[in-house]
Symmetry: C2
Subunit: 334 residues, 2 copies
């Protein structure tokens, strides 16, 4: 039986990916590493999914422990999802962001190298690596030079350079992504679309006034549904070309304030938009839109879930969650 | 009295820089940080030089200690020399190399940021950041895209990106170098020219057979004398433009084996060359030659010391050192 090690298994993408693996019945033994246990409230049957799978509580900065785990597990695949993936957080705590992006990745691949482990590694990167790209160069292809404009992006660029050098210099079997903004049920409200959808639920439930708080509403991002993202990760893990880098994106740009307008129309809820100065970042990329031509050409992947569908599943997620939380707070147990 | 903090003060460049500051009589209070105390055997009067100056023994990975030191010192200038600057070492221990290049730099600048310290910071980078550059693009100017080809180079690229983002996003007063290979008296024999010169001394003294051991003799590097380097650092610290990056180089490329031939002629010592496979790196840049046009234009700096003169001062350094060591070993004390 082949083994897969998933770092950051407890996170948003980790939960969805485990769900995907289970549905494929591919007989993979799943090992997960994370600092905290999974709490996937967006998946119905976490206990059942974890049957026969192994969860290892560990900090990826703890090199001796990681070394021991990888030696024990001897994984055939490593999906490295663990990251501190918030740009906003990286401006607040660059040192923490760097440790929990570049350093943890280096700890993993260096352990694989020293261990002569033949695992196929999928390194997750970010569209933030590109930095500020002029309108005429959109959609962004993988050939575009990288010019990171925030601490998180620097950490991701360094991670990818290390991946490339480990593939080329030490012959490790690593493949890389540059994943664009995700959305989908289960994402925390530290991320913009999830934060907006959550606010709409609160407005609909009368918990919040009809004012949606956002940062810079003009910035344009390319949002891809997490279900599409995990399909791409599965394909890349099993068939991605060694040493290559692939964009994972929807190919469509959306301004943040347009998302508010779209939700307002879809839900027939009139809202005002409040742009909060405190949420505006020292440097921000005005427009990020990707091209998925390369992964489509090499592996046949393309995004399949319409943005409106993503929004609705996120709405249902937040609606259920807020309902459950308010029940708990009001003492109603069933 | 203004204060300068020099990280990695105990190293090769640190010693030469302290010597330069002393000769300038500019009344700077010098604070040095290093893991180990200075042992500058290439400077005649270390004790005198250190009079009135402060040495702080600390590991730059120890964030609380660094924070305390910078808060206490409140430096006006920070010359960040501390680094694990050997490419060969970085292939052996990439994790260590990364921690002792990118992470320590980030620790310093993040402390400066959190402390609202207005220090002018000089971040030292490397020509290795450019990676493999084709013949037609030589000499390399600062505009060339960076494509690091070894773990050390990745760490330096990340360091410079962080410097740029801290200058732009947090308004820190940082200026950067991309320093090409150094040479000069006091450099350890982990670096190629110093290793070659040392071997010639050993051949001349009959300690070694007339065979000079090198790695890849064909690679071309641009060697600049440490005395020229420190003049450039002094200029950049005091007058370099914020957020800018400057090459520091000789503008001349030399193949490693040609250096052996040149020394052989200068010293009239016939030697054979042995290229050791074990010293050849997983990936190596065939040719690195820089352009110093930008720093010459902005600050009037250009290299002034002929390579032959550098070689002779290195020869004298190694000759004295080996003589002193052999005296010690043979029990002769004066």
């Amino acid at each position: 039986m082949k083994k897969i090690l998933i770092t950051g298994i407890s996170g948003f993408v980790g939960g969805h990916f485990v769900h995907l693996l289970s549905s494929r019945h591919n007989n993979l033994e799943i090992h997960g590493i994370s600092r905290s246990k999974p709490a996937w409230d967006f998946i119905n049957t976490p206990a059942e999914l974890l049957n026969g799978h192994y969860f290892h509580q560990a900090d990826l900065n703890d090199i001796p422990k990681i070394k021991l785990l990888i030696e024990e597990i001897q994984p055939d695949y490593i999906l490295h999802l663990a990251a501190q993936s918030s740009v906003a957080e990286s401006w607040k705590s660059p040192v923490f962001s760097f440790m929990n992006n570049t350093n943890i990745f280096l700890n993993i691949i260096d352990t694989v190298r020293l261990n002569d482990n033949a695992a196929r590694v999928l390194s997750i990167g970010s569209s933030e690596q590109y930095g500020i790209v002029s309108e005429k160069d959109l959609p962004i292809t993988e050939e575009r030079p990288q010019c990171p404009e925030n601490p998180y992006a620097v950490a991701r660029v360094a991670q990818e350079h290390l991946a490339r050098i480990y593939a080329k210099g030490y012959d490790l079997d690593i493949c890389c992504t540059r994943s664009f903004n995700h959305c989908g049920p289960g994402q925390t409200d530290r991320f913009v679309v999830s934060a907006i959808v959550k606010q709409f639920v609160m407005v609909a439930r009368g918990i919040q006034k009809p004012v949606i708080h956002i940062g810079n509403g003009m910035i344009v991002r390319d949002f891809v549904d997490v279900h599409d993202v995990i399909e791409a990760y599965y394909l890349l893990l099993t068939k991605g070309l060694k040493g290559e880098v692939y964009n994972i994106c929807s190919g469509q740009g959306r301004a943040i304030q347009d998302i508010v307008t779209l939700l307002s129309k879809m839900l027939c809820i009139r809202v005002d938009i409040l742009q909060e100065q405190s949420q505006i970042r020292p440097i921000d990329n005005p427009r990020i839109v990707g091209s998925y031509q390369k992964i489509q050409r090499d592996l046949g992947w393309k995004p399949s879930i319409p943005f409106e569908e993503s929004l609705m599943s996120m709405y249902q997620y937040w609606d259920k969650r807020i309902k459950d939380e308010s029940k708990m707070h009001s003492g109603v147990t069933s």
